[in-house]
């Protein structure tokens, strides 16, 4: 049982659940406590010990059913060649004997044994499937089987021919089953390596080329990134919280007690949290990128307390509450469709957006605020209202502009980027996760 449990944990790990050694030990103890005769209890207790978040619980459920439902050879017995009289089989190899006598259990355990021998848990890429199928078959004695078939055909008697045909059929059947088995094993053990490859690839690919199906993977990449950066910087930000004894205040407060110090006061250092205003263009020209920028803002919103988020197209609205109330998928759909939010998805109007912001939310900006603007600055030849941006720039601590277009495109056609540039403390091209990572890093390190 212990080996099975270890294999199961290995499968969980490769599906993306993080399981440490102490947790493995806990799992062993758990099984000792509850046993495994009651499948439901067995599952629930392992889940409590091994899966430590809702996401991991989902992985766990899926893995559990896949892992504990292996019944090789059990479902397709119908196609298996009928049994033959065992008396003429001595010359045949072990594998042929098993096929001829219809020993399904023996074949199943033989597959498993061969799989272990060829170290199937090391399989990482789907291209290796064929290789492993072949290795397993060879290990089970495919050569012997082939020779048997050849020899029996050669003998050319009625019974030998019959036997050879059965063996041929059995071989096909065996091949199918080994293939199934390898597929299952691949599903269990391999995704992590492929996953890492995809992650690396996704990080460097242009955001506009990403597909909807990469969305959740992207979400977790961005989440990881924001969390890591936030961890690094929050440590520095929060070093001293409860300060020293505030002697003056303590004395002053205790004068009424004849100088007996009843009431102690500490010098407290206020935690300096980043104060961020994010403004994101969601118009058609940046549509594909906007999804990921919003994703990024969403993750940032979850890990930094004070961030106000706005989106704009023809006008500008605040959407902070959407981030707070809805899970990520729903929030982004809501933001991009704009239904019920009061946003007009007409031609992009940076001038109007800036005016809206200035009229309604201008007091948000203090000398502690960092403003992040995400957009391509393509204004359809409207009034860019550079003046407003300039005053925002002057009142804020920092104004950062992230533009999904390459720098060489800035200022071409209806792009007003060149005009906005002097009002930015920092303007960066930003269209891959690597770019985002760099920006977040500089953002957070500047905050402290």
């Amino acid at each position: 049982m212990e080996q099975i449990l270890k294999d199961f944990i290995l499968a969980l790990r490769s599906s993306g659940a993080r399981i440490s050694v102490p947790e493995t030990i806990d799992a062993m103890n758990t099984v000792k406590l509850t046993g495994y005769h009651d499948r439901e209890v067995f599952k629930d207790s392992l889940s409590a010990v091994l899966a430590k978040s809702l996401h991991e619980k989902e992985i766990f459920e899926e893995c559990f059913y896949r892992f504990f439902s292996f019944d090789t050879f059990s479902e397709t017995t119908g196609d298996f060649p009928e049994n033959l009289a065992p008396d003429i089989m001595e010359e045949n190899s072990l594998l042929s004997q098993m096929i001829l006598s219809g020993d399904l259990g023996g074949l199943a355990s033989s597959i498993r044994e061969a799989a272990r021998e060829v170290r199937i848990t090391g399989m990482q890429f789907f291209t290796q499937k064929g290789l492993y199928i072949h290795r397993i078959l060879r290990h089970m004695g495919l050569n012997g089987l082939n020779q048997d078939i050849k020899r029996l055909f050669h003998k050319n008697t009625l019974s030998s021919r019959q036997m050879a045909e059965k063996l041929e059929k059995g071989k096909d059947y065996l091949f199918e089953n080994v293939k199934d088995f390898v597929e299952q094993q691949f599903a269990l053990y391999s995704p992590s390596a492929t996953e890492n490859l995809i992650e690396d690839y996704l990080k460097s690919i242009k955001l506009s080329n990403l597909e909807q199906r990469d969305f959740y993977r992207m979400h977790s990449i961005i989440q990881k990134m924001v969390k890591r950066l936030n961890d690094i910087h929050s440590r520095r930000r929060k070093t001293s919280k409860r300060g020293h004894l505030d002697f003056r205040k303590t004395l002053r407060n205790n004068i009424s007690y004849q100088g007996i110090l009843f009431d102690i006061h500490w010098k407290k250092k206020k935690v300096d949290r980043p104060d961020i205003v994010a403004i994101c263009d969601v118009s058609r020209s940046v549509e594909t990128v906007a999804r990921f920028l919003l994703l990024f803002l969403y993750s940032l919103n979850k890990s930094l307390a004070r961030i106000r988020t706005f989106i704009f197209c023809s006008n500008l609205i605040e959407v902070t509450h959407i981030f707070d109330e809805y899970p990520v998928g729903e929030a982004l759909v809501k933001l991009q469709s704009g239904i019920g939010l009061g946003i007009v998805l007409g031609p992009t109007d940076y001038g109007q957006a800036l005016r809206d912001f200035d009229e309604n939310w201008s007091p948000l900006i203090t000398n502690k605020t960092t403003i992040i603007i995400l957009g391509d600055a393509r204004n359809n030849y409207g009034d860019p209202q550079t003046g407003i941006l300039k005053s925002m720039h002057e009142r804020s601590k920092r104004l950062i502009w992230l533009n999904p277009e390459p720098r060489s495109f800035w200022g071409t056609g209806d792009s007003e980027m060149k005009k906005y540039l002097p009002c930015c403390h920092l303007a960066r091209e930003c269209n891959t996760v690597h770019h985002l990572e760099r920006v977040v890093d500089s953002l957070l390190s500047l905050e402290s």
């Binding site: 509850t34 209890v41 409590a48 010990v49």
Partner: protein, 316 residues
């Protein structure tokens, strides 16, 4: 801990029954986790939507064990002086003032400054002794001779530092107070941590805990909960209520009603002497289960259909 309650924790079914006797209806999953937590001596981290009974589970566990419940509510800025212990500075200072006159007696016979200081040093430890120690929830829980249930509520609201500080206590159940000594738990407390997932908790903390996710209840379970928690409500109304609430949860609402709201609603129905649902009755009492004006509007649109379905379900 093990010696005290072995009988109560003899089997998962025992745990379930025990919690049920204390008016907490739980799924087998919850009972399994509580059972494991006791035998593996591990804290339980409980997650799930607001109002599904995370805190209630800890409270009930206390009743079940017959142990005191020590609750620590977490919030941003919570630090160890508020969670663990603090010195009673005021008392220390007051005593110093009062004992000023005694100083002459103490120092009698000492010549010179250094001799006086030496003499004073002999009394040094008095002011940092247990009588000046103010235990806060965590220390209190460790000091309970017959064990306690420690509820660390909404751990996700606290800061990272506090979480890190908890790690030591949760794995070793001991605290060192530099001026006195290390205090070990006489009996390990039964620990529950709850979280609403406003932020991701650290891996290290999760590793030390068993993890339990309580989802919104299935209809049968919810009916059973109402039966136990609001006795006196008619069978028919109970089925209708639960059916209506379950349908509400499928709507696009800002805040989905949870068990606590269902219980409140059932109690209100009891007060109103209602024995079956009707559209009027629902629209009058909708504000009890829904907390946003917008949500009430959304629900009112579907009110007729949902009521009809609920009534039909109870008739079967």
């Amino acid at each position: 801990m093990n010696l005290l309650h072995d009988k109560k924790f003899a089997s998962i079914e025992n745990v379930r029954q025990g919690l049920k006797n204390a008016e907490y209806i739980c799924s087998k999953k919850i009972a399994t986790t509580v059972y494991l937590a006791y035998h593996l001596e591990k804290p339980i981290l409980v997650e799930g939507p607001a109002g599904v009974g995370k805190t209630e589970l800890a409270k009930t566990a206390a009743t079940f064990l017959g142990a005191p419940l020590i609750r620590m509510q977490c919030y941003e800025g919570l630090d160890e002086s508020k969670a663990l212990y603090e010195w009673k500075y005021g008392k220390q200072l007051l005593y110093t003032q009062m004992l000023k006159d005694k100083l002459n007696d103490v120092l009698k016979g000492a010549k010179g400054l250094s001799a006086s200081i030496d003499k004073l040093h002999q009394y040094n430890d008095i002011f940092f002794s247990r009588s000046f120690l103010e235990p806060r929830p965590l220390l209190k829980a460790l000091q309970q001779k017959d064990g306690a249930v420690l509820l660390i509520d909404e751990i996700d609201k606290s800061d990272h530092e506090f979480e890190a500080f908890l790690l030591e206590i949760l794995s070793d159940f001991q605290v060192s107070i530099p001026e006195i000594d290390t205090i070990h738990a006489e009996t390990r407390p039964f620990v529950f941590l709850t979280s609403n997932n406003t932020r991701e908790l650290s891996e290290a903390l999760k590793r030390r805990c068993l993890h339990l996710f309580i989802p919104l209840p299935a209809p049968e379970l919810e009916r059973e909960i109402i039966r136990i928690r609001v006795p006196g409500i008619s069978e028919k109304l109970r089925i209708q209520l639960v059916s209506f609430i379950q349908q509400l949860r499928e709507l696009d609402l800002k805040k989905i009603p949870s068990i606590s709201e269902t219980i409140d609603w059932a109690r209100v129905m009891l007060l109103l002497h209602a024995d079956k649902l009707s559209s009027d009755l629902i629209s009058e009492t909708l504000h009890i289960i829904l907390k946003f004006e917008g949500d009430i509007k959304v629900a009112e649109e579907h009110l007729y259909d949902m009521t009809r379905k609920a009534i039909k379900e109870a008739a079967i």
